[in-house]
C-alpha cells in the first residue's frame, strides 16, 4: 500500500527566532531551516511500515517555496521513494494546505497519510484533522503507536491523562506525537541516493485550490518578558520566601 507523508520546512528547532522591528513577523532571513520535527517522525514511521512489508511506496509532499526541495530530499534520504513539491511563494495557512493535500490524495490514492501533529513555527495543530475532514476519512491524532493490518490501522494516541486506542478503517489519517519513534540519522550514502529519486513540481492551482490566506496577521510582538527574580542561598531562605513573601505555601 501507498503512504503519503506531508513535510514542512520550518525554522530549525534550535534557533531562537527574533521578532522584526516593524512587527510584521519573525525574521527568518539567514536562519537555519529544517524539516518540522514531527514530520520527521512521520517519515520515519512510514519507513518502519515499509521495512515491515506493510507499505510499498512512500510519497513525500511539501508545500511552499522552492527551497522545500531540500526538505523533500531529507525525507527521501530517510526513505521516501519520491517527492512532490507544491510550489508557491505565497503564505500558506493550514486550511489551504489541507485542500492541496486533498487534491494530491485524490490523485495518488494512498491508504494512509501520516502527518506531524503540529509544525513548530505556527504551532497550529490543524492540517491533519482538516485533511481528514475534507476527505471524510477517519483520524487518529497524537499517535504513539501505529499498527497496520487487514485494511485497518490500530493507533494508540496520547490524550490528557493517559492513552487511548482506536481502530481506523483505511484509508485514514494519522498524526504523530513525539513518542511514536526516534527518527534515524540520515547517512551520506542515503543522502546521495536521495538526490537521484524523482521529484515532481506542481502548483496549488493544479488542484483548483484557492490558497489565499484567511487569517490576517496584524502584528507580531515579543512576549512580555518575565524578569529574573532573586537567588536564595539555601533551602531555609527559599522556604521562608515562599511562606512569607510569595505566600504560596
Amino acid at each position: 500500500m501507498k503512504v503519503l507523508v506531508p513535510v514542512k520546512r520550518v525554522v530549525d528547532y534550535n534557533v531562537k527566532v527574533r521578532v522584526k522591528s516593524d512587527q510584521s513577523g519573525v525574521d527568518i532571513a539567514n536562519v537555519k531551516m529544517s524539516m518540522n520535527p514531527f514530520d520527521e517522525i512521520a517519515v520515519e514511521e512510514a519507513m518502519r511500515l515499509k521495512e515491515k512489508g506493510t507499505v510499498t511506496e512512500i510519497v513525500a509532499v511539501s508545500c511552499g517555496v522552492t527551497q522545500c526541495q531540500e526538505t523533500l530530499r531529507t525525507a527521501m534520504a530517510i526513505g521516501a521513494d519520491r517527492g512532490i513539491l507544491v510550489q508557491t511563494d505565497e503564505e500558506l495557512q493550514p486550511l489551504a494546505v489541507a485542500k492541496i493535500l486533498k487534491g494530491i490524495a485524490e490523485k495518488e490514492q494512498p491508504e494512509l497519510i501520516i502527518l506531524g501533529k503540529q509544525a513548530i513555527d505556527d504551532d497550529a495543530n490543524q492540517t491533519g484533522q482538516m485533511l481528514a475532514a475534507l476527505l471524510d476519512w477517519p483520524q487518529a491524532t497524537f499517535a504513539s503507536k501505529v499498527e497496520v493490518a487487514d485494511g485497518k490501522a490500530q493507533v494508540t494516541r496520547e490524550i490528557d491523562g493517559g492513552l487511548e486506542t482506536l481502530e481506523l478503517t483505511l484509508p485514514a489519517i494519522v498524526t504523530t506525537d513525539l513518542r511514536l519513534n526516534e527518527p534515524r540519522y540520515v547517512t551520506l550514502p542515503n543522502i546521495m541516493k536521495a538526490k537521484k529519486k524523482p521529484l515532481e513540481t506542481v502548483a496549488p492551482g493544479d488542484f483548483g485550490v484557492d490558497a489565499a490566506p484567511r487569517l490576517k496577521t496584524l502584528k507580531v510582538v515579543e512576549p512580555t518578558a518575565r524578569s529574573a527574580g532573586i537567588k536564595v542561598p539555601d533551602v531555609a531562605a527559599l522556604v521562608d520566601k515562599l511562606k512569607n513573601e510569595a505566600k504560596v505555601v
Binding site: Q126, Q129, L163, L168, A172, L178, R214, E222, I230, L238
Partner: protein
Amino acid sequence: MSVLVIAEHDNTELKVATLNVVAAASQIDSDVHVLVAGGSAQAVADEAAKIAGVTKVLLADSPALADALAESVAEQVLAVAGDYSHILFASTAGGKNVAPRVAAKLDVAQVSDITAVVSADTFERPIYAGNAIATVQSADATKVLTVRTTSFDAVAADGGRAEVSTLESVSDIGRSKFMGRELAKSDRPELAGAAVVVSGGRGLGSAENFKILDPLADRLGAALGASRAAVDAGYAPNDWQVGQTGKIVAPQLYVAVGISGAIQHLAGMKDSKVIVAINKDSEAPIFGVSDYGMVGDLFEAVPEMVTTLQ
C-alpha cells in the same frame, strides 16, 4: 449572534477547562451556549447549566458520542454550527482533535490556542513556542477557536440557571472504532489545572531518582511534571511533559528541579505565578525566569525542602 462552547467532560463530570473557555466566550458575546456531546451525560449538562454566564445548554446524548470520537463529535457540532458566530473549544487533546474538523467542514480558518480576545474577530495567539505573540484577524463567517485555558480565569462553576435542551444526536459514522483507554491513576491533582506543580528535568539522572520528587509533591499537594529531556530519557511518562508540545501550565507555584530551561520548556510554564528553580548550574536559563532560584545539589535540596516545609 450567540457563541458556542464545546464542553470538555468525561460523561460523568465537567472538566474545569470548560470554565476557562466560557470566560473567553463571555468576552466575545454575552449569549454563551454550551454543547455537551456525550453518552449518558445528563449530569454533565446539569453541571454546565449552573456555570455563571451560560444562557443555554445543548445536550446531545448518544452511545455514538460516548467515546468522544473526533468524527462523531465534529458532526454533532456541525449540526448546530449555523446558529453561532463563534465556536470555542479548549486547547486540550480533546479540543485540538475535533476543532479543525469543524473548521474545515465549514470552510473557515481556525485560530488555535488563543491567549487573548482583542475583539470579536481579532485574537492573540503564541507562535514559535511562545517566542512571539501574533495578533490575527479572521474575516470568515464563523470563527472556530481553541482557547489556551491558562490565559483566561475560570468563571464560577455555579450561579447560572440555564435551560438544558436536548438535540437529536448524530449516528455513528463507523469508520473509527474505540478500542480502549488507559488513564494514569493518581491521587495527585491533574497537571494542567494544578495549583502547584513540581517538575523534574534531566538533572534527576534516572527514573529511580525521579521518585525523590514524590515527597515534595505530597507535601505541596502538587502535580508532577517533567521537561521534554526527562521524558525523552525515559525518566517520566510522556503525559507529564510540560512545554510547547506537551502541557501548558500556569500554577500558583511551579518548582523546577534539575531543569535547565530550554525554550520549549519555558513556553509551557512561564505564565506560572511564582517560579522556583533548583539547579546546580548557576548559568542555567531557568534562572532567567524564576522568582526564586537556588544554585545547589537537588539531591540535598529537595529532601531538605520537604523537612523544612513540615
